[in-house]
Assembly symmetry: C2
Homo-oligomer: 259 residues x 2
């Protein structure tokens, strides 16, 4: 089996081209890969340095997002084939739009929340983490609810960083779970509530790392808490997301698009 | 000027196809867009529902990442043109690799850190936020250092969520800044240190939101603190990143790849 070197070359962060390479390469399960990202290749000089680096490795596959064709030229001259997002996609889009792509671009068409909105959202998520500042729940876009260690905090932070959404999170304590209804402070925000759950075995494993051999980490306790939480979610018609086999991207995308 | 509806259709989260659409459309600055993401289109039934929704809007441009051609077929049948990542890129990769892409795929080739590693990194970033638990700095991949409100926490969280890196952050207080050297607890970790800085005007604006008209938020104070911090970074050969005009993705990518 041939072991390919993968390079992801970008004139910016490389996050997008890495994601594309990962998706496309998943369709070639019989090939072995190891991957290197070369970000901020934003001058002809840096493009030449990348070419020199890549030429030393063989066989290599190069995925790229290089906005300007002058940055791609050193690769082509050296006989390195690029799978470039712009080369492969922009011309097709241009012919539909009946206008040629303009390399510099830079206009983001408002498709992404700005830096400030996302940082504000991170601060909001931290300030309203774990049930803090419930009087500020009015300002939340979403309120993630669930038992301890079910994944509320990372999900709230990812919603903030990726989408600029202000996500609070509220832990259901064993005391809360003994009540027949959700805590009053949550009830008034019912449309924003999203219930997180996990398989009990998975929750127990997570808690076990934190407090080994505790009652808190026991399978019985996890099972009881999760069952009580789900009963509360159903009673209040809170959408429930079982995150057991999900990445944090998937959790966030599902929460964002949940009814 | 024509106002296009953009749809990003994915059988998974849609994060990648959104990023690609955003990059490509930035090359068409004279077109107006509004964008909708349809994630988790992972059955023919859902593909048909997406087709119905898109057919009702005109003119529309559809970007997609649909792994399986059976999910793309309802769009083609309805005469909707897709700019699909797999259709546009996988065949070219396949001909280089001399094997056809297999739709289901799913193997990620270890190009992305797993869920557990990323969640562990988030917990680490939170536990070592703002100078907490300095005795655990040994476990850090990176230590972000800078004055209050310079953007350390969101950067550390993004490094954790995107790359699974364990990033601690340590605030330089006015007391620290009066010393001729970095705090001792940092000095022993010099290779992991990354100094963050901002333009004083930008820092003052950020602090102003939090504590309006305070000395803390004054331009003079911000200027003094940033100058003292940069002098410390230079004395200890700590790489400095000026994040003034950067997105959180760019900050994280530059920190990750910094010397």
């Amino acid at each position: 089996m041939i072991n390919y070197r993968i390079f992801c070359v970008s004139d910016h962060t490389g996050v997008t081209v890495e994601a594309v390479a990962r998706s496309v390469l998943a369709q070639f399960p019989r090939i072995e890969f190891s991957s290197t990202t070369l970000p901020f290749v934003d001058s002809v000089e840096r493009a030449r340095a990348a070419v020199a680096r890549i030429a030393a490795e063989s066989p290599a596959l190069v995925f790229s997002s290089l906005t300007d064709s002058s940055l791609r030229e050193p690769f082509h001259s050296a006989g390195i084939m690029l799978f470039d997002l712009f080369e492969l996609i922009a011309p097709a889009v241009g012919s539909t739009l009946e206008q040629p792509p303009t390399p510099s671009g830079g206009r983001t068409h408002g498709m992404t929340p700005g830096y400030d909105a996302r940082i504000d959202a991170v601060n909001f998520a931290l300030q309203l983490d774990d049930g803090l500042s419930p009087e500020r729940l009015d300002g939340a876009d979403l309120i993630l609810v669930g038992v301890s260690r079910v994944g509320k905090t990372p999900s709230a932070l990812y919603l903030a960083l990726q989408y600029g959404l202000r996500a609070a999170n509220y832990p259901l304590t064993p005391d809360d779970l003994e009540q027949p209804v959700l805590p009053a402070v949550l009830q008034e925000h019912q449309p924003k509530l999203r219930g997180l759950t996990l398989l009990p075995e998975r929750l127990a494993a997570i808690r076990q790392v934190r407090y080994p051999d505790s009652r808190y980490a026991s399978l019985a306790q996890c099972r009881d808490e999760l069952a009580a939480a789900e009963a509360l979610f159903r009673r209040h018609a809170v959408p429930i997301l079982d995150t057991t086999r999900m990445s944090v991207e998937e959790i966030a995308a599902r929460l964002r698009h949940a009814a």
